[in-house]
């Protein structure tokens, strides 16, 4: 048997047996690889090429002009502000929820985990709409807010709330399986050696989860930058004021300013590619840590 096992290293660390029994005929292999590559090329590579191709269609000069245009700059600023508020808040929530869920045993745990995933199964349009129902002109708090001259819907606060809603599960979702697998042994050892709760968290738990945490933060950030549906409902699309980058892409595109639309879109696509690179690095890092742990055992 050993002779049949090649040194191929699987993407996730599994060596694959090359025995005839688990090996597909050559024509099957080529066919399936061909179909896969063609599918991914049409659905992923071609759209990506379109974005960068159109953005640079009229040269770098026009590209940069489109990006430094004041309306674009203010959209970029609003998107950065939104992400800067949403990502830390949802990170704190993710860590707190994962700590309570994975370090303790209590009734209703799996129900709670399902609830955390809820925003993933709710349409983004509904995610935005709930804040219109609460704070809009005809919403529950609408009259009160108008009396006190507080604007939430069609202003920055609702954009932040809608983004918080849709990016809510990302960090918790990455941390829960990771911390569940790690158990409570390290923390118990730290406490029994006299460390306090906070110092146990900062010095024992956090170093253990830092790569998974980073991964969740990266995904959360990508979604915060790119959310369209939820933000579209609550934004009001006021240029220079309530326009985020994805909304600005829509406006430019609908005005037939294709180069400008794709220029802004290319910034978001570039961030998406960076996200994928970061994700691959973190995954590679996690796999290496796992392998090291296996070796130590």
């Amino acid at each position: 048997m050993a002779g049949f096992i090649t040194t191929w290293q699987g993407g996730h660390g599994s060596a694959i047996a090359d025995a005839p029994a688990v090996r597909d005929p050559r024509w099957t292999r080529w066919l399936l690889i061909g179909v896969s590559v063609a599918f991914l090329a049409v659905m992923l590579v071609a759209p990506l090429f379109t974005v960068f191709g159109y953005a640079l269609y009229q040269g770098f000069g026009r590209y940069f002009e489109a990006i430094v245009e004041p309306a674009t700059v203010s959209a970029i600023r609003l998107t950065l502000i939104t992400a800067a508020i949403c990502v830390p808040l949802n990170t704190v929530f993710g860590v707190a929820a994962a700590w309570a869920i994975t370090k303790f045993e209590f009734a209703g745990k799996s129900f709670l985990i399902s609830l955390i995933d809820l925003p993933f199964s709710v349409s983004p349009v509904i995610a935005g709409m709930v804040f219109v129902i609460l704070f809009g002109a005809q919403g529950y708090f609408g009259p009160w807010l108008r009396e006190h001259d507080i604007q939430i819907v069609f202003a920055v606060p609702a954009i932040i709330l809608a983004t918080l809603f849709v990016t809510f599960p990302f960090v918790a979702r990455e941390l829960i399986p990771l911390m569940q697998a790690q158990g409570t042994g390290n923390e118990e050892a730290s406490l029994s050696l006299g460390a306090g709760g906070w110092s146990t968290f900062w010095r024992v738990t956090l170093p253990n989860i830092k790569w998974g945490l980073l991964y969740g933060v990266i995904l959360c950030n990508a979604r915060a930058f790119g959310e369209f549906g939820a933000v579209s409902v609550v934004s009001g699309h006021i240029r220079h004021q309530t326009n985020t980058m994805p909304l600005h892409v829509e406006i430019l595109y609908n005005e037939y300013q294709f180069v400008a639309a794709f220029a802004v879109a290319s910034l978001l696509a570039f961030l998406a590619l960076l996200t994928l690179v970061a994700k691959s690095l973190v995954e590679w890092r996690l796999a290496r840590l796992e392998r090291r742990d296996d070796d130590e055992i």
């Binding site: 896969s36 809603f165 994928l276």
Partner: protein, 287 residues
């Protein structure tokens, strides 16, 4: 029912633990989730009860709403079927075969999660427009994608693609090679082994991925509106109809459609949980 039994047992039953911080972490997590997610969603459902059941049904199931559910539902189903088929091929190829660029393609599968939906939307529309890279070939053949039902399906296929691939990949990695070897040693051909031995083992994961993709596609908005054409009764998806009603300040009509969609998502969520439980039983049985 679940919520009731939960609220009764939740504060009462917790296993003792030497670790600190349960009340603080749980208190913060529940308060945050309640304020941001649960109360707003409950407010939405409550708002929709501000009309008589008759008015609710009239708004939720009038001909235009029904047409929008049909568009959303059939296009999501088509996208999930396309992803179920091609996603299985992609997952199998990525795990079992070694080819040039495999790692790059593997990383690229997550692109639809990272790429803003508006960007996917305008890119696909441009690609499939009559002058676009793909549209200029398809249109002479009589296939119009942009601004038709096919375009909606293409957009939904793109944004829900990672689900099938990412749920199948670990299942294929965990496949016990002894199963395939046993099947081959008993005289089964490779095709017979794949369809009768491998496929049934992968089925729970495939169905989970399929349902996740379907659920995601059902609520999608950003990538679709650019390519759909948005013709009422023909290419108007349900989430868009919600926005149209909101813009007309018809909050009640909007909440009626939203509540219907929300109920559909909750049913799918329960289904996904059941499928995942089945999947876990399948994978832990043999060990």
């Amino acid at each position: 029912m679940t919520a009731l039994s939960l609220s009764r047992s939740f504060p009462l039953w917790r296993e003792p633990s030497p670790l600190p911080g349960f009340s603080l972490a749980m208190g913060f997590a529940l308060a945050y989730m309640g304020l941001l997610i649960i109360i707003p969603l409950a407010a939405l459902v409550l708002y929709s009860t501000g009309q008589t059941p008759r008015e609710f049904l009239a708004a939720a199931f009038d001909p235009r709403s029904l047409a929008s559910y049909r568009v959303s539902f059939t296009a999501s189903l088509a996208a999930a079927i396309i992803n179920g088929t091609f996603g299985t091929v992609v997952a199998w190829s990525l795990v079992r075969y070694r080819f040039f660029g495999r790692r790059v393609f593997d990383a690229m599968v997550d692109l639809p999660f990272a790429l803003p939906t508006a960007v996917s939307g305008i890119a696909l529309t441009t690609l499939f427009a009559s002058t676009g890279l793909l549209g200029q070939w398809l249109e002479p053949m009589g296939i119009r994608v942009a601004f038709t039902w096919l375009g909606i399906t293409a957009a939904l296929t793109l944004i829900s693609m990672p689900f099938v691939v990412r749920t199948l990949q670990p299942a294929i990695e965990d496949l016990d090679h002894a199963l395939e070897e046993a099947s081959a040693s008993m005289g089964a051909g490779r095709w017979q082994t794949l369809t009768q031995v491998v496929f049934p083992v992968l089925l729970p994961a495939l169905l989970t991925g399929f349902t996740l993709a379907f659920a995601r596609a059902l609520g999608e908005f950003g990538s679709v509106i650019f390519i759909a054409g948005n013709m009422p009764y023909q290419t108007e998806i349900a989430p868009l109809l919600i926005i149209i009603k909101l813009e007309q300040y018809d909050y009640l009509g909007a909440t009626a459609i939203a509540t219907t969609l929300l109920v559909a998502s909750l049913i799918l969520l329960v289904l996904i949980n059941l499928l995942q439980a089945w999947h876990r039983r399948r994978t832990t049985q043999g060990r």
